[in-house]
Subunit: 169 residues, 2 copies
Amino acid sequence: MRAVRTQQNTAPFVRLFGRYLREQGLPITQQRELVAEVVFSTDRHLSVDEIEETLRAGGERIGKATIYRTLDLLVRSQLVEEHDFGEGFKRYEHRLSPQPVHEHLICTECGGVWEFRSTEVEKIEERVAREYAFRPTRHKLEIYGLCEPCREAGAEIPYEGLTCPIETV
Amino acid sequence: MRAVRTQQNTAPFVRLFGRYLREQGLPITQQRELVAEVVFSTDRHLSVDEIEETLRAGGERIGKATIYRTLDLLVRSQLVEEHDFGEGFKRYEHRLSPQPVHEHLICTECGGVWEFRSTEVEKIEERVAREYAFRPTRHKLEIYGLCEPCREAGAEIPYEGLTCPIETV
DNA sequence: GTCCATGCAAACCTTTTGCACTATA
DNA sequence: TATAGTGCAAAAGGTTTGCATGGAC
């Protein structure tokens, strides 16, 4: 198996995925390791197309079905998180960073994604857990808007709603 | 035009949508009014199939394409919000409640959705706007977990991750 | 040797689009 | 009467699945 892209030393992370597969009694295949390596090699939020393209750029040709199936395993293992930023397809991000839990800032102009930590959200979780007798397992906080470069480039937030919006009737 | 479902007096809301259409120079059609009426007649988060079904139950047969096109207008008018709770399709909720801005609690067992207000999120928005020079336009906070009835019924959170999860490597 | 994964293509599902026809203003 | 909407069916686009072949253990 050849390294597809080695910005970081992905070997320990890939090994962790191997451990998960072994625990589940599933074979460790070249394809699975290669897909995992691509996902672990970047901190970006990759789409399936981007993963496929990265593999191809590294000389590896892996079927989309296998990529989807491997991503499913990576998500089940909890080593990878699935995101949907409303683009019509999913994105995947590994959780082996120093900041495994974080929220997202998404620029609606350029599609850029930034990450931030928020201890406040955990407090909100606790509060609603109490008030609604709800047991939270995970949450998702996404703030959409314009990033500074886009705003400086003159991007505007289009307003198409009613000319005199009503908040309550 | 016949009332499809009148749990609440939806007429003023539908009229608001009419005003939006007029402002945009678009015709007010029976189909548009009927779809709007269904969406405004409930506080639930409706899927396109549910809207179609409700219309059919009321004796109205409106093509799915028209429903999708009307929902697009309702969302543009800001009278309706689009949600994606990860079910593989979208849901729609009108914003003409006493609580137009709110967050969601989603039970992963029964699919139930509860709403709660959080002023904390606005503070988080302000904070990251400052820290990241980001101009927020909207946000989405969703907390997934188990609601009390499901938990009492014995529902468990399946854990399939690595037996010894690592937070950081 | 057994079981499972892979790759391809077909199927799937939601959503969008093209087009002939119809309704709105 | 001009302009835009409707409904149907087909297309689109991401994701999943069936099946014959090939690989892991």
